[in-house]
């Protein structure tokens, strides 16, 4: 399949190409938004067209009975293992966000009518591991995730891959965070010439008095974009943190919309970006406060450190406000490592590379240390160091 064939097509034409006769509203949304290109605001800084123009194999996403495991294992879009007793099953998605800004959110739903539904019962901690094994393939799947009211659940999301090339992964969550609950999501994706690109398009609904803690750690090279739309009801709260450490020719980042719809909701979003070599980081984030969202508190900040002249950061924190009664702030800084700090470490016999690593990790640590589970925290630190040294061996800028 070549997805670029869907470019500038009517909903009927898209339906015909995808062999979908019903789901008219989704087809219309995709047709209205149009297949992403440089002209699409969400994809302006990401070379999406090249990815969509490639010819991909499509896999038959036939659900199978998962084996017992201590984590949810999703292989090429199919659940192959799950913890016993956990409700993980295949189901048609009945709640699709019809106001999402991302056309690929709708394409994802059209391609994957059967979604992976995960119901988190109680105060559970679960790891979701995504594995990709197929080359030249469009791996597409969607996950619908529910937690229980008054409960505190945690999801750790990790990604592994076999030796593959030219694969595009199109996936995403529809998360429904129940009233008075907390859902903590920690995503760690380390890619280093991994052979796949990824577009992850999520929608997250945070119900009344609920808390969403979303921490993403994107490390290494390659191309990947995560797009979030987060909707906050009354007294809901989201705390989002994004760490980006890129090397080589990576193009990765976050495009997000946090929409305050209910009163007294609050949001904080912090991005820390460290870019080396010829990499490009993206933080294109909008906080939108609807006229129903009195007494909103919203804060958004992006900090970037460029380690190389060829590195480039696109930081676009934005506020769109339709009400007066609120507190809101946003900002972005881009700089380099502090020369004085670097010299101080070197003057004690610490090599230039190690000194850089120490300072880079110090910058990242405020986000990494927010991961409470020490095993997961260690995993992020190890991935971070591995990517740092991989970048060093590929790129003389660090020497």
């Amino acid at each position: 399949m070549n997805l670029s064939i869907l470019k500038n097509k009517t909903s009927e034409e898209i339906g015909k190409h995808l062999d979908i006769k019903d789901r008219v509203t989704l087809l219309e949304r995709l047709s209205t938004l149009g297949l992403p290109s440089k002209k699409n605001e969400a994809y302006r800084y990401f070379d999406v067209e090249k990815l969509l123009e490639k010819e991909y194999k499509i896999l038959d996403n036939l659900p199978m009975s998962p084996k017992p495991s201590n984590k949810i294992e999703i292989k090429d879009g199919i659940v192959v293992a799950a913890p016993q007793g956990m409700r993980v099953y295949s189901e048609h998605c009945d709640k699709i966000d019809m106001d999402h800004f991302d056309p690929l959110y709708y394409l994802g739903h059209l391609l994957s009518p059967q979604t992976i539904k995960i119901e988190l019962d109680g105060d559970v901690e679960v790891e979701i591991e995504h594995t990709f094994t197929q080359s030249d393939t469009l791996i597409h799947y969607r996950i619908v995730l529910y937690n229980q009211a008054n409960r505190h659940a945690t999801v750790y999301e990790n990604f592994v891959h076999e030796t593959i090339e030219n694969t595009l992964v199109l996936y995403g969550y529809d998360m429904h965070i129940a009233q008075d609950s907390t859902l903590r999501v920690v995503k760690m994706q380390s890619m280093q010439h991994s052979g796949y690109s990824m577009i992850a398009s999520h929608t997250i609904n945070v119900a009344q008095n609920a808390n969403a803690l979303l921490k993403t750690f994107d490390i290494g090279s390659d191309q990947a974009l995560q797009l979030f739309k987060i909707t906050l009801d009354t007294h809901a709260h989201v705390d989002a943190g994004h760490l980006l450490y890129l090397n080589a020719n990576a193009k990765r980042g976050t495009v997000s919309q946090i929409v305050h719809t209910g009163e007294y909701a609050s949001s904080t979003q912090e991005a820390k970006n460290i870019l080396d070599a010829q990499s490009r980081g993206i933080f294109d984030a909008l906080i939108k406060v609807e006229n129903t969202a009195k007494y909103t508190k919203a804060a958004q900040n992006s900090q970037a450190i460029l380690l190389h002249d060829g590195a480039y950061m696109i930081a676009k924190p934005q506020l769109e406000i339709y009400i007066d009664e609120l507190e809101a702030s946003h900002g972005a800084t881009i700089g380099q490592l502090d020369k004085q700090q670097l010299f101080y470490l070197e003057s004690r016999g610490i090599s230039h590379v190690e000194a850089k690593k120490i300072l880079v990790i110090a910058f990242a640590n405020t986000l990494i240390e927010q991961v409470k589970d020490s095993r997961q925290q260690e995993r992020i630190k190890i991935a971070f160091e591995k990517a740092f040294y991989a970048g060093y061996s590929e790129n003389s800028s660090l020497s």
Partner: protein
Amino acid sequence: MSSIMKIENLQAKIGDKEILKGLNLELEPGKVHAIMGPNGAGKSTLSKAIVGHYDVDVTDGNIIYKNQIINDIAPEKRALEGIFLSFQHPVEIPGVNNAYFLRTALNAKRKHEGKEELDAAAFLRLMKEYLTLLDMKSDMISRSLNVGFSGGEKKRNEILQMMLLEPEVIILDEIDSGLDIDALRAVSEGINKMKDGKRSFLVITHYSRILDYIKPDYIHVLKEGKIIKTAGPELVAQLEEHGYDGIEEE
């Protein structure tokens, strides 16, 4: 006696400004050399030039350490070979744990010397000993490097690093600035314990107060980018009485 460090006709600038204008200096092993001079004479530039600071551009002359010209040697290599600068204003580094920094620096040195790296337990035992010696609070090594440290704590932390790394040439740039009497005494005791008859000290100072605690063997007067006079400790009294204007170039 042969020198451990010899500086010959050193000319250096910061930006476009020429600061050092043909400076000559020899450091003898086991001796304490004090450099005194008015503001803007080039005292800090000299210390920066010796450790290879990025601000300083050496335009002529040589810095010779253990019979090797080190003008083009990287700062970390100079440190590993035994040159240590205690900074006048130690930089704060948020997010870098002091203990982690100290252990990394110590192990870099040990590795350079072909010794085994120190494990966490052995390192902590060593730290305990030095913290007591320098009258430092134990929480100082668990905090971020120099962050929120008082002036005295920063200087103690510099001396702690010096003791840990056991350098052979120790440059103390305004080590007494911002110290109260107790801190000055503790820092001086730490420095005096490092005297082993082999190490050289280069004490850069405006005031003679520190020299009451660290007894110098030589006083060098640095003025307008050159050493204009070298004498014994008796020169301090003359400087106190007449100031730098009263000193004629030899």
